[in-house]
């Protein structure tokens, strides 16, 4: 039964195709069953294949299913072939499970939307692209999924295209991603030139066997990582993600948790031998990750839009995953990806539930005290917040701790310190969000307040399931101090890279620091937003510049627009008006006007009578043939 794994991505693809062609004619109920059912089937096949994988002897990893030769010319060869190994299995399980829950939630969330079938077509397509990305056995096919998720994010962020902001945000996502993709494409070309194959097994062999030099490996690794900064929203290409919340909220959950942004982390883990081989590239990955983790967290501190806070939080959390990958702890990075998928989708869906209750309100300044109105949303939201804040016994604690411990163990103290700083900020901003939304004074408008209601079960049940995982998902990867054997996740994944060991004492110390940091952040948020709610506005007026810079996201969008977008357009207009029209075309027209005479004759011929045309034609042919025959 383990050879059916290749069907995993294609079930949602088939569903998307059916919905794309017939969607508008199908009843809503059928659309919901088919779209959700397809992803559930994928999840089912993932479980069966996962069990099959466990029973397969490890020397047979990865299982490969080659469907057919896709592109082949000369040295360039890419197959349509899928593979299944522990890394792909983890991703397939997470993507299909979280994806399924988001599909179900969407049935409730999008119930009234006119574009219902279009929405589920895109959602299925998104799931397909991501599953293809994580199961491709070569980098070219991976690129198909890579671009596919980019496309789907474009379609879904711009889902409500009548809104200018939504259409613009969708386009921005696609374009920023494309910049990364161009670098990724170059990386693929270097791989083919130097390794001669895009198959992951061949790349691992070539890197392991010393077929590529350190310099080439670094170049490839950095090019691919530039692609990852686009897809996974890291410095400097993160700018599309905060705007991505223009799409329907379940889409944000899908983009931020299960699909899309995790692609970069998966790619680095997939090519771990490459990044392990190139110390320089790994260092860059870790550094970019650490800087992004802190940088994005600072912007999350002052946002008032509930989804924007979560968006910056995603950028920051992905940064942690890259720290893990960069310091060689690929399993720790993947572990955080896995726990983050649950608690971040939970946070987004719960935020969606809040919006749903408040007739679409996003501004936290117009919320407050919602605890008593939303008896299911509040506790599930809280579980997500506790998990991301890094409170012990919840999933986020174990994974974040694994990353920071590895960074410390590798001697990357600076990166570890950045990670700790980010952790304080994380705990602070997420509890700021909780306190502003669910506690304190009720600041809703009266007419909104009348309509507050808890979401229907089709939306709350996914929240409860995700809350369960957000709490418990971490127990398959317990810290080494509790016993090496307990980390099932590590033992299953067995990704390359060496994890440095440190003494028990230091490890306990690091854990204690992590715990202290989490509680400090929460306590600060409690003090600022519950005990002394006047403090934040006081601080904002005391340090207006700092507040403004943070609130306006360091003006990076403005800078990019001025430096790249507007200058390109202005420059092109200049060239068009002064060079294309005047110089090149001017030369042409100059020649033409000097032969104006012939033009007059030609236009005279245009009498519009077919017999004239025929005559001229005949005459021309006769003259022509006569001329040739002398």
């Amino acid at each position: 039964m383990s050879d059916i794994f290749w069907l995993i991505p294609f079930v949602p693809a088939l569903s998307a195709l059916i919905l794309a062609v017939f969607g508008t004619k199908l009843p809503k109920k059928y659309i919901s069953y088919q779209a959700c059912g397809a992803v559930l089937i994928s999840f089912g096949i993932s479980i069966i294949s996962f069990i099959g994988l466990l029973q397969t002897p490890q020397q047979n990893y990865p299982l490969v299913k080659n469907l057919f030769t896709w592109i082949h010319a000369g040295l360039f060869k890419a197959n349509l072939s899928l593979q299944f190994d522990p890394l792909s299995a983890v991703m397939a399980l997470v993507v299909s499970l979280v994806g399924f829950l988001i599909h179900v939630y969407s049935v409730g969330y999008m119930a009234e939307d006119k574009g219902y079938s279009r929405y589920f077509t895109y959602l299925n397509l998104f799931t397909f692209s991501m599953l293809l990305l994580v199961m491709a056995s070569n980098i070219v096919l991976m690129f198909v999924g890579w671009e596919g998720v980019g496309l789907c994010s474009y379609l879904l962020i711009g889902f409500w295209f009548e809104k200018h902001s939504a259409a613009t945000a969708g386009k921005k996502a696609f374009l920023v991603n494309r910049i990364g993709d161009a670098a990724f494409l170059l990386g693929i070309l270097f791989i083919f030139i130097h390794i001669g194959s895009g198959e992951f097994t061949a790349i691992h062999q070539a890197v392991g066997g010393g077929a590529v030099t350190q310099g080439v490996a670094t170049l490839i690794a950095i090019l691919l990582f530039i692609g990852a900064t686009g897809k996974s929203a890291q410095i400097p290409l993160y700018v599309w993600l905060p705007d991505a919340m223009e799409g329907p909220t379940p889409v944000s959950a899908l983009i931020h948790a299960a699909t899309m942004v995790t692609a970069g982390v998966y790619m680095v883990s997939r090519l771990n031998s490459l990044y392990a081989f190139s110390a320089a590239a790994a260092e860059i990955v870790a550094l970019v990750g650490a800087l992004t983790a802190v940088y994005a967290a600072t912007m999350a501190l002052v946002q008032n839009d509930i989804k924007r806070v979560l968006a910056y939080s995603t950028i920051s959390q992905i940064g942690y995953m890259f720290i893990g990958c960069g310091v060689g702890a690929y399993t720790a990075g993947m572990f955080h990806l896995y726990t983050h998928a649950f608690f971040k989708s939970l946070l987004f869906l719960a935020a969606g539930s809040v919006m749903h209750a408040l007739s679409g309100e996003l501004d936290m300044k117009k919320m407050g005290g919602l605890k008593k109105y939303l008896p299911l949303t509040y506790p599930t939201f809280l579980v997500g917040a506790i998990a991301i804040a890094g409170v012990p016994f919840f999933s986020g604690f174990f994974s974040k701790d694994a990353i920071l411990t590895s960074a410390f163990a590798k001697g990357e103290y600076f990166i570890w310190a950045l990670g700790i700083a980010g952790a304080v900020l994380t705990a602070f901003y997420i509890f700021r969000l909780i306190f502003l939304t669910f506690h304190g004074k009720e600041r809703m408008k009266p007419q909104v307040k009348e309509h507050i209601h808890e979401s229907p079960p089709v939306m709350t049940i996914p929240l409860i399931i995700l809350a369960f995982f957000s709490f418990g998902a971490g127990y398959i990867g317990l810290p080494a101090v509790l016993g090496q054997k307990l980390n099932v996740f590590n033992q299953f994944l067995k990704l390359g890279g060496h994890e440095a060991h440190i003494s028990m004492g230091i490890e306990w110390l690091l854990i204690l620091i992590s715990i202290a940091v989490a509680f400090t952040g929460i306590f600060l948020a409690y003090m600022f937003y519950i005990l002394k709610p006047y403090v934040p506005s006081m601080m904002a007026s005391k340090y207006p510049r700092l507040y403004k810079v943070l609130y306006n996201k360091y003006y990076v969008d403005e800078f990019y627009n001025a430096a790249f977008v507007n200058s390109t357009i202005k420059g092109s207009e200049l060239i068009y008006n002064h060079f294309d029209l005047k110089v090149i075309d001017g030369a042409v027209n100059g020649t033409a006007s000097s032969t104006n005479f012939s033009g007059k004759i030609l236009s005279y011929f245009q009498s519009g009578l077919i017999k004239d045309y025929a005559l001229v034609f005949l005459l021309g042919v006769v003259i022509f043939i006569g001329y040739l025959l002398f």
Partner: protein, 530 residues
Amino acid sequence: MTFPLLSLITFLPLAGSVLLIFIPKEKRASLLYLALIFSLITFIVSLFLFFNFNGHTADPQFVEKAPWIGYGINYHIGIDGISLFLILLTTFLFPIAILSSWNYIQSRVKEYLIFILMLETGIIGVFVSLNLFLFYVFWEAMLIPMYFLIGTWGGPRRIYATLKFVLFTMLGSLLMLVAIFSLYSLYFKASGTYSFNIFDFHNLMLSSNMQIWLFLAFALAFAIKVPMFPFHTWLPDAHVQAPTAGSVILAAVLLKMGAYGFLRFALPIFPQAVEKFLPLLAILSLIGIIYGGLMALIQKDAKSLVAYSSVSHMGLIMLAVFSLNLESIEGAIYQMINHGLSTGALFLCVGILYERAHTRLIKDFGGVSKQMPVFAAFFLICILSSVGLPGLNGFVGEILCIFGVFKANQVLAILGVSTVILAAGYLLWMYQRIMHGPLEKKKILSFKDMNIREIIYFVPIIIMMFWLGIYPQMFLRKMDVSVQHLLNQMAQKEKILTQNPKDPSIKNQLIPKSLEKEHHKNKKKEEKTL
């Protein structure tokens, strides 16, 4: 003699146009259906070429040869793996072009259809000719219907546009004609026989000096046709003024003649000259990619935008052609088909919008998606195909082109990759401004979504986009031997010259027979290995 399949395909449309003459011009429907049927039959017959094409030999297939005027001027036609797909692209697009003109052309339908069918014969003739003289006849003949199509059924500035188009093309063609006759006389001097046969010219070894002059004449004609920077300014004007079908044919097929000319004549006959001008040609192509993309970004007219995007895309194709390796040239041929489909389809999209709005200015639109959801989907697929999204046709050609260029010169490839970003920029921005945003213009509320006729001609294009994107093997494998053969031809001439670089005896002679034998042996080997 076998059945003259190729002649049938070439002249069926012409027969159709002759038949149309006898139908009274009031019978609009009969005229349209007759033209459609002729173009459809031509397409169906051309499918036999595809299925019976032998991909294991570099020799021309479906060859027909008959004496014509004498002195080497023969009726000699045949196809290989390079021309096959351009012919199929032509026969595939003509029924679509006719369907797209169904309501668009209101005046003088009869003449319009006659010219369209004449144009088809002319274009196919260019791709099948194996006699250089015959090639030139078709090359020029095809200009006439195109001239009238734009000049009669075009927009307000059609006279200016046609004049520019014709003058540009004539300038190149005349120089090419001189070069053709020079080749003819050089061949006569070397061999003592008259010939316009392309393969005879392939065996002609020219001195470097002679190669340079003749190459420049050919290259100018082809570069104008492509068009390569800086000979591109006729294109936006011609496109903007041409009726939709004219734009489709112009972009999809006519431009390919330039690239085809380089592959068929310029590269194998003048390899040393190509070598010499390679840096210049490659840089002009690269400028075309970036320049065309930047110009497309700021166009206010949707058609003009697509026209500049053509300059950019053709730049990549030419860059791939000049990279001179198997991957790049197969990529270039593949990309020619892709560009034909996607740009042709984009012009159809603009045409569909124009029929409803009677404007092509981007600012006159906004929020059309809401009114035309089916069209929105088709339009988006065409854009994604043009952008080179994996899974659709554009990606396969693009990655092979870029890979081939990369093999030849990494810097050019790295700069050329900018097309990936630029194309997404100008096309998605255009799509956003036309299709998305609030529906503010009242006129748009009256837009009807695509009708059955429009869907019928669009669906085959969309199917081909997916097919070419997902299973390119069927097409690529038919090119291998022909492309390899072309490269070997070039390498062989190269070898003769490098072996005796200063030998004055190498002057406008035939390739020695001994080498030719070796060449044949190589050819057999290629065929076996591929």
